[in-house]
Symmetry: C2
Subunit: 152 residues, 2 copies
DNA sequence: GGTGATACGTTGGTCGGGCCAACATTGGTG
DNA sequence: CACCAATGTTGGCCCGACCAACGTATCACC
């Protein structure tokens, strides 16, 4: 691979943050395309997934769980509620909170999104064998854990 | 990994694209903060780095080289030119092209940005040992190569 | 040599994800 | 009771990644 025409500067090619953001961009394109076919975006999936994992929860909790800002939760939830994939009921025990729960249709939709996502993962990781995939996930997991709990 | 309080859904935690985009987000925050101290953004660094690597080049070539859209090259180059970090001269051999070259001040600025970025990389990769860092870079490189040359 | 396709720089948008500030309401604690 | 913290919501901002369109210039082909 000589400096033939159009490859990245080696300066960037060996910069971890560049590799990360670029690979993430590719991943994002695959994921967006997959979700788009179901008229959904990343936030929609994330919220449904979080909801399915935790059961009914307040919007603030959902936000913390999925890494989405409180304010972004609102509009995403509006979308999902409009399509009846989610229900928003006042929490009787704390009138500040909304108790958000996933509906049957929501769970069904989540299944579809999940399938689409799984396919996208496969496309993303195509050039890696099983061991490499696990190693990648492991390394990324270490980084993620480290940078989200800096207090330790 | 028990459902302890406020961690991500395991569903997401084992999804490569999620790990990638989240880690990339953390990386992006570190990098942005580092560049911000020099009043620069990612595009500024990328362009300077590409320019320093390739030598004087047309905007289109710079775009291909750095993965930045032609249209975004324009405004970024405007910024850099305003600060005299870059020069834009008409290419005598092809009057469609601008020949963009990095100035001495630009090269000096690039050095500063590079130092800031190196520090950010270190912070980003802190929890990984040397072997793990290399492995991560290697795996990401494989993915990147694969997804940018789908013809192979 | 003329003509049609292609490349270039530029303008002016769009979109998604990640943020932040502010405010009213409600809850807990001194 | 007074105060502070949390919640939902509105309305904004930024950055990176794109896309369509246009005028100008160049190239390839007949």
């Amino acid at each position: 691979m000589q400096p033939t025409g159009t490859s990245e500067p080696h300066r960037l090619r060996s910069t971890p943050s560049w590799l990360l953001t670029q690979t993430a961009a590719h991943a994002g394109r695959l994921v967006s395309a997959a979700l788009d076919r179901h008229h959904a975006r990343g936030y929609h999936y994330r919220l449904l997934a979080a909801l399915d994992d935790t059961g009914p929860a307040s919007q603030a909790d959902l936000g913390r769980h999925s890494g989405i800002d409180r304010s972004d939760i609102v509009s995403t939830l509006n979308d999902l509620a409009d399509r009846h994939l989610v229900r928003r009921d006042p929490d009787p025990d704390d009138r500040r909170r909304n108790l958000v729960s996933i509906t049957t249709a929501g769970r069904r939709e989540l299944t579809h999104l999940q399938q689409a996502l799984d396919t996208a993962q496969e496309a993303l990781l195509a050039p890696l064998d099983t061991a490499q995939r696990h190693e990648l996930v492991r390394l990324l997991g270490i980084l993620l854990t480290h940078h989200k709990a800096p207090k330790g």
